[in-house]
Structures are given as structure tokens and as C-alpha cells.
């Protein structure tokens, strides 16, 4: 943790809103990046940034400096995002079970007709990768995003997720294995 963060954190712990604002300004973009990778959606990512800093303000008295401040924020952000993903899944399950013919009619539309918005926003790779990431378990997805995209080490991930380093390592490995399986047809066509 750099000195600037240190001072801002100790002031924020005493209720200094200006000091907390400094922390928001310094870390909002990094939190946004993680939130976007987790939620795969810009609007949700922005909501998650707000939620993360609200929770951080509420809990900053308990931040003990054992993990770095960014790692601590990442952990909060991952938890907020997972709550959102779970809520989304619950909603999807609800639609699925309430549907008489047992299937989501939209899921049966041909995949070759993406919306103009989707065409503008996602490349072919993200169209393959995002569903594959959605199919990972919560732990695999979070650990992979933290390792691959955020460049966090296994030790740091284990602290952020509150698990043993072995479990964090295994989650990254399982995620890589599953993603490679999905990417295999695309990759072998290009090789």
C-alpha cells in the first residue's frame, strides 16, 4: 500500500469523507475493470463500482492492512458481482421453470442474428468467451479473472477470496482447462 492510500484510509476510518473520495478517485477504474470482467456488462459494472465503494465505506473500520487496499477492494467487488450474478441466475431459473414448454423461447432463436448493439460491442472472441466464462463456477470465474486479467498472484487471490492458496490455484487451473475446451474448435481451425 503506498503512503497516500495509507493516510487516506486512516482518515476515512475516522469518518473523513474527503479522504474516502480520494480513494474512490484512485481506485474506481481498477474496480470497474474487475466488475466488467465479472458482470460482462458496462451498466452492471458501473453499479458494482458504486456498491463496492458503499460497502467499503461501511466496512473500512475493519480493514486491517493485512491485504493491500486494492486486494481488499477487489474482494468486495468480486462479492458484489457474484451476488448480482446469482440474482440473475435465480431470475433465469424462475423464467425457465415457469415456462410451460420447458424452454426459454429466446434461447432457441438462431444465434447468427446478433443485435446491432451486440455487433458493435463484441468481437467474435467475446461472443465465445463470455458464455464460456458464464459456465465456470463462481470460484473458477473469479480466480481466473483475477489471475489472467488483473495479474494478481495465486497468494493474493487466495487472500482476496478467503480460501487456501491450493484452492485458488486449482480454480485457476480448472478455469483454464474449461476455457481451452471451449476455444479448441476455434483454435484448431486457425492452426
Amino acid at each position: 500500500m503506498d503512503l497516500g492510500d495509507d493516510i487516506a484510509i486512516s482518515r476515512a476510518r475516522r469518518g473523513d469523507r474527503d479522504a474516502f473520495r480520494v480513494l474512490v478517485e484512485r481506485h474506481a477504474k481498477a474496480v470497474y475493470r474487475l466488475a466488467y470482467r465479472m458482470t460482462t456488462n458496462e451498466t452492471d459494472a458501473e453499479d458494482m463500482v458504486q456498491e463496492t465503494f458503499l460497502r467499503a465505506w461501511k466496512q473500512i473500520g475493519k480493514f486491517d492492512g493485512r491485504a493491500s487496499f486494492p486486494t481488499w477492494l477487489h474482494r468486495i467487488c468480486a462479492n458484489c458481482s457474484l451476488d448480482l450474478i446469482r440474482a440473475r441466475k435465480r431470475k433465469q431459473d424462475l423464467y425457465r421453470t415457469s415456462d410451460d414448454d420447458g424452454g426459454d423461447p429466446f434461447a432457441q432463436l438462431p444465434a447468427a442474428a446478433p443485435s446491432p448493439e451486440r455487433l458493435a460491442q463484441s468481437s467474435q472472441i467475446s461472443a465465445i468467451l463470455v458464455p464460456a466464462l458464464n459456465d465456470l463456477t463462481e470460484m473458477e470465474r473469479t480466480a481466473f479473472v483475477m489471475r489472467h486479467y488483473e495479474g494478481m498472484g495465486i497468494e493474493e487471490i487466495s487472500v482476496a477470496l478467503g480460501v487456501q492458496p491450493g484452492a485458488a490455484k486449482h480454480s485457476v487451473f480448472r478455469a483454464v482447462q474449461k476455457l481451452r475446451r471451449v476455444l479448441e474448435p476455434v483454435m484448431s481451425a486457425g492452426r
Partner: protein, 235 residues
């Protein structure tokens, strides 16, 4: 020498210190492993093509504008915390009094204190009171899942233990076994939290969080709480 496993190749790719010693040298000497490493690198490089759209330049400012008005509400003032505790104590005392009077009344075979209420009204009150109790338990369990330390959680857990015991007595009279079993499970956790040392080690916190997660306690609490709330609204 045996070839490098896929798991170790992943560690090497990410430059993790855990990668086995001598693996890099082996990679330089073994064509088969070098080819596997190249394939892995190509696959993972594809993942890099999924970019994050650049957020608004004003992201931090707009986040601040959204959260600033909520900051005072989200961190409870000490005064309000005492008020809440006083509220819980008052509610507990009232419930105790009601239970005591109801007990005495039933022994004397005279109409109970709730005799004037319809069965439906009594069930509604019970469902809503239980849902509120589980809501507080859920909040506490969620905070423990997110935090690295416990401080005021212990006092809240103690309040919940006492509250929960009264609920269990009432449920036992009504024979609501599934909810009763869940309240038992919640009470066991609350007792542990109430009696935990103020400074818990990270390993102890991890163990507690794992147990909350492994038994899906939080999930079960959420489901039953939401069912009770719906039930209370329907009655």
C-alpha cells in the same frame, strides 16, 4: 525426465513462484512440452482479445456523486446502534412477557392473551416476526462472509440467539419442524459468533466462512425468509 503437467504449464505461463524447479530448463530441452506450452500460450492469448470498454473519464466523479448522499446512512452512527439494540431488547422482553403470560394462562385453562386474535392473524404475526429475525441473521452472516474480522457482530449474534430461542419455543408448539431445524442451525452459528474472540485469526475466519458456505446456510436462510415474507403477505 517426466513431462510437465498441464497444471504446471499454467503456473509457468503465469510466472507463479509455485512452478516446479527445473521445469523451465525442461521446457527448453523437451520439444513435446515446448509445443504444449506454445499451444497453451496461444489459447490464453485469445482471452486477451476480450477487451474492457474504456469507462467514462468521469467515472470516479459520477460514482462519488451517486454514493456521497448514501454514505452517512450506510455507516450506522453509534447512537443509532444503541437505539437498535434497545429496540431488540424491548422486543425480546415483550415476547418473554407474552410467552410467560400465555404459559400461565394455558395452565389455568383460561383464554390466552392471543385468544382474541384469529388463527390467520396469529400465523401472520409469527411469519413476519420470523422473517424479520431471519433477515437480521442473514445480514450478519453476509457481513461475516465479506469481512476479515468480527467486532460488533458478537453482540448482535448474542441478541439473535436470545430472540431465536423464543421463536423456537413458539414454533415447537405449532409443530413447524423444517423451520425449527433451520433455526437450530442458525442458533449454533450465532452461538459460535457470540463466543468468538474479538481478534480471530484469518484461519479461524476462513473456517467459519467455509462452514457457512458449505452447508449453504446463507442460501437456506434467504429462501425460508423470503417464503415466510410471502406467506405473511398472503395471510
Amino acid at each position: 525426465m517426466t513431462h510437465i503437467t498441464e497444471e504446471d504449464l499454467v503456473l509457468l505461463y503465469y510466472n507463479e513462484a509455485d512452478a516446479p524447479q527445473g521445469a523451465r530448463r525442461h521446457l527448453r530441452e523437451c520439444g513435446e512440452c515446448a509445443s504444449a506450452a506454445r499451444k497453451l500460450a496461444q489459447d490464453l492469448a485469445v482471452c486477451n482479445e476480450w477487451g474492457v470498454p474504456e469507462p467514462d473519464a468521469d467515472l470516479a466523479r459520477s460514482v462519488w456523486a451517486q454514493i456521497a448522499p448514501q454514505l452517512d446512512e450506510s455507516r450506522p452512527h453509534r447512537y443509532f446502534r444503541w437505539l437498535r439494540i434497545a429496540g431488540v431488547l424491548a422486543a425480546t422482553a415483550t415476547l418473554l412477557l407474552v410467552a410467560f403470560v400465555a404459559g400461565r394462562a394455558s395452565r389455568q385453562r383460561t383464554p390466552s392473551i392471543t385468544a382474541g386474535l384469529s388463527k390467520q392473524a396469529r400465523e401472520r404475526i409469527l411469519a413476519i416476526t420470523l422473517a424479520d429475525h431471519l433477515d437480521r441473521a442473514e445480514m450478519l452472516l453476509t457481513e461475516i462472509s465479506d469481512d476479515s474480522q468480527m467486532s460488533d457482530e458478537r453482540a448482535r449474534a448474542q441478541d439473535l440467539v436470545e430472540e431465536g430461542r423464543l421463536m423456537r419455543q413458539t414454533l415447537a408448539r405449532d409443530g413447524q419442524t423444517p423451520t425449527l431445524a433451520m433455526l437450530d442451525e442458525v442458533e449454533r452459528f450465532m452461538l459460535e459468533i457470540a463466543n468468538a474472540p474479538e481478534r480471530t485469526t484469518p484461519a479461524e475466519m476462513r473456517e467459519l466462512r467455509d462452514r457457512i458456505g458449505s452447508g449453504s446456510l446463507l442460501f437456506k436462510v434467504r429462501i425460508i425468509e423470503s417464503n415466510l415474507r410471502n406467506e405473511g403477505q398472503k395471510l
